[in-house]
């Protein structure tokens, strides 16, 4: 039997922390479920913060992706803000059928990232979800592209429901992380610390203090 634990014991080269943010009801949890278990179902609203893990081979590397999923309601933001810390990738999701979820990206979510992300090089990705509802679309692809260009982030449109572009979405993000030396270093650093569960070697304060 192929249990998740046997999969875990295989080991991995890098561990990356990703974060999903965006307005309530845009499909953050659905996108995550679609990616981690290839399924789509009616999900309850996320309360606070949730989390899923996915093991994946991307760019020839074995990866463990720790993906944090946040609640969209404004009043949870004090709580979700602490999860930006140390994320190598942040996925901003909007719903292509609801204009306000797109405008809130610049009004709210981009500002949240500037405020709370501790990582200068952190890769950001803009995701327009629910393209399966093409007839209800109100945000054009061009607008997404323009926003992404202006804000300097990756962009993709997808459907958590049909799974169109879902794998690509995470893959592109991770490939970009793999391409960024500082993030790569973080991904393996966390790993070592976790595996050996040791305190990092004492910084050379003793040697410097003697001079």
């Amino acid at each position: 039997m192929d249990s998740p634990s046997s999969q875990e014991s295989v080991g991995f080269d890098y561990l990356f922390k990703l974060l999903l943010i965006g307005d309530s009801g845009v499909g953050k949890s659905s996108l995550l479920l679609s990616f981690t278990s290839d399924s789509f179902q009616d999900l309850s609203p996320t309360i606070g913060v949730d989390f899923k893990v996915k093991y994946a081979d991307i760019g020839g590397k074995k990866l463990k992706l720790a993906i944090w999923d946040t609640a969209g309601q404004e009043r949870f933001r004090t709580l979700t803000s602490s999860y930006y810390r140390g994320a190598q990738g942040i996925i901003m999701v909007y719903d292509v059928t609801r204009r306000e979820t797109f405008t809130n990206l610049s009004d709210i979510w981009a500002k949240e990232i500037d405020l709370y992300s501790t990582n200068q090089d952190c890769i950001k990705m803009l995701v327009g979800n629910k393209v399966d509802k093409e007839s209800e679309r109100v945000v054009m692809k061009k607008e997404g592209i323009n926003f992404a260009r202006e804000y300097g982030c990756l962009f993709i449109e997808c459907s958590a429901k049909t799974r169109l572009n879902v794998q690509q979405c995470f893959e592109e993000l991770v490939l970009k992380i793999l391409d960024t030396p500082s993030l790569l270093a973080e991904g393996s650093k966390v790993l070592k610390k976790n595996i050996f569960k040791q305190k990092p070697p004492q910084p050379d304060t003793s040697s410097s203090s003697c001079c």
């Binding site: 309360i47 989390f51 893990v53 609640a71 309601q73 009043r75 004090t78 709580l79 609801r98």
Partner: protein
């Protein structure tokens, strides 16, 4: 029957056939243990006084039969005093129904979709209170000229252009409607019950009226999870509202938010202190992993384990928790706090016997824990879940993500009765040590 494995209860809360991923309910109706409709009826005197002590111990042993859940919950949550007559309660019920009708009418005047049997998921006003000129919204409100008037022109909004500064409270409430709509369509959607539009709009109405009634809390995600069972269990919408409102009296503190915190954080720090006393090693470990704020337990406390149990099992868990926590003064405390001048004080008369308290509450009283300082049993429930996973958490959790993963894995695997027993044991231990 000489043996009784119990009857399953999932048929009372039918799951849509296409939802195959839903955890099965473990709770079973057991003859001689579960509080049945017959036992419930015989627990009343002819005038209507309820033998609460016997009822509580029944519930603790075997839960409540789904057919009477709603009416029993009304007592457990303190909507009614067991030491009152049928007539007195009927009066209160009628009075409350009228009050709800007034509240709802107030809301309807501000936003005509309330009570119309329909609801919205789109935003209805902008941050500064201007009505959103979204065709979807206008159509629902019957404001588009081409509408063929199925719901009548009598529902015209008075100030569609919304000039003049609106009351801040009204704007706040209207902004909240958006979130309520978004959540209503995602609450318990695996249940057949919510395939009916009228049930969805009932849930929307009750949450909207509550948000107006308790403007300090308004609406916070998670509240739809708490309200949904009331809509299912209590036929009358007003009764469902007041039952929910009484539940919120216990829980509203968790949902009150400031700029920098969510109310439930108080309970999370209580959880931290309990774990520190009960299982210092685990507490230390969690702290090292950066989980000293216990945020990973946020959801369990916010929606009282709704997400860790099947629908049926969470109801069973709730009623056991409330039976254990039961305080016979609850009703008079609630009524007195509403208006000191009201007449219900008579019920306070002579002191209640210990048997009328739930077991958890009894333990508190025996140990002289005053009611101000006392913690809800839910905190001990979480603490016992953590303690049960202690060795796993200590050996396998190397980061906060592992903690959350280990805790997520309990979904569908917990036993409500055992969980309560665990919480009671921990509570005793804590009272001794602390």
């Amino acid at each position: 029957m000489w043996w009784d494995a119990g009857a399953p209860t999932d048929s009372f809360y039918q799951v849509r056939p296409e939802c195959t991923d839903v955890p099965k309910t473990k709770f079973r109706i057991k003859a001689g243990k579960t509080l049945s409709a017959r036992k419930w009826q015989t627990a009343f005197t002819p005038e209507g006084y309820l033998d609460i002590a016997r009822t509580l111990s029944r519930i603790r042993r075997g839960g409540i039969h789904p057919s009477i859940r709603g009416e029993v919950w009304e007592f457990l949550l303190g909507c009614y005093d067991p030491k009152s007559t049928f007539d007195e309660r009927e009066q209160i019920r009628q009075h409350r129904r009228e009050k709800y009708a007034l509240l709802k009418e107030e809301c309807r005047q501000m936003f005509p979709l309330i009570g119309s049997g329909r609801f919205l998921t789109a935003p209805v006003v902008t941050e500064d209170g201007e009505p959103v000129q979204d065709p979807v919204v206008l159509k629902e409100l019957g404001l588009l000229p081409e509408e063929n008037g199925a719901s009548g022109g009598s529902e015209m909004v008075k100030e569609p252009s919304g000039h003049g500064p609106q009351d801040k409270k009204v704007i706040q409430w209207k902004l909240t409607l958006h979130q309520i709509g978004l959540d209503v369509v995602r609450t318990d959607r695996t249940l057949e019950f919510y395939e009916k539009q009228e049930n969805l709009s009932k849930l929307w109405d009750v949450l909207a009226v509550y948000a107006w009634f308790d403007a300090d809390v308004g609406y916070c995600q998670g509240m739809s999870d708490l309200c949904s069972p009331m809509i299912i269990l209590l036929q009358d919408e007003a009764d469902a509202f007041w039952c929910f409102e009484h539940l919120m009296r216990r829980l509203r503190g968790n949902f009150r938010c400031t700029e920098s915190s969510v109310g439930v954080e108080t309970q999370l720090s209580n959880l931290a202190s309990i774990t520190e006393v009960i299982d210092p090693k685990l507490h230390q470990h969690l702290e090292t992993l950066g989980g000293g704020n216990y945020l990973f337990a946020f959801r369990m406390l916010m929606v009282l384990f709704r997400r860790e149990f099947s629908f049926g099992d969470s109801l069973y868990l709730w009623e056991m928790m409330w039976a254990l926590e039961y305080d016979p003064y609850l009703f008079s405390v609630y009524e007195d706090s509403k208006s000191a001048s009201e007449k219900h004080k008579g019920s306070k008369g002579k002191p209640k016997s210990m048997r009328q308290f739930g077991k958890y509450e009894r333990d508190n009283r025996k140990n002289g824990v005053n009611s101000q300082a006392h913690l809800p049993i839910s905190v001990f429930l979480v603490a016992s879940v953590l303690e049960n996973r202690s060795s796993k958490l200590l050996t396998e959790a190397r980061g906060l993500d592992d903690v959350v993963k280990i805790l997520n894995d309990i979904t569908g695997n917990l036993d409500a009765r055992k969980a309560c027993r665990g919480a009671m044991k921990l509570h005793k231990k804590y009272l001794k040590k602390a």
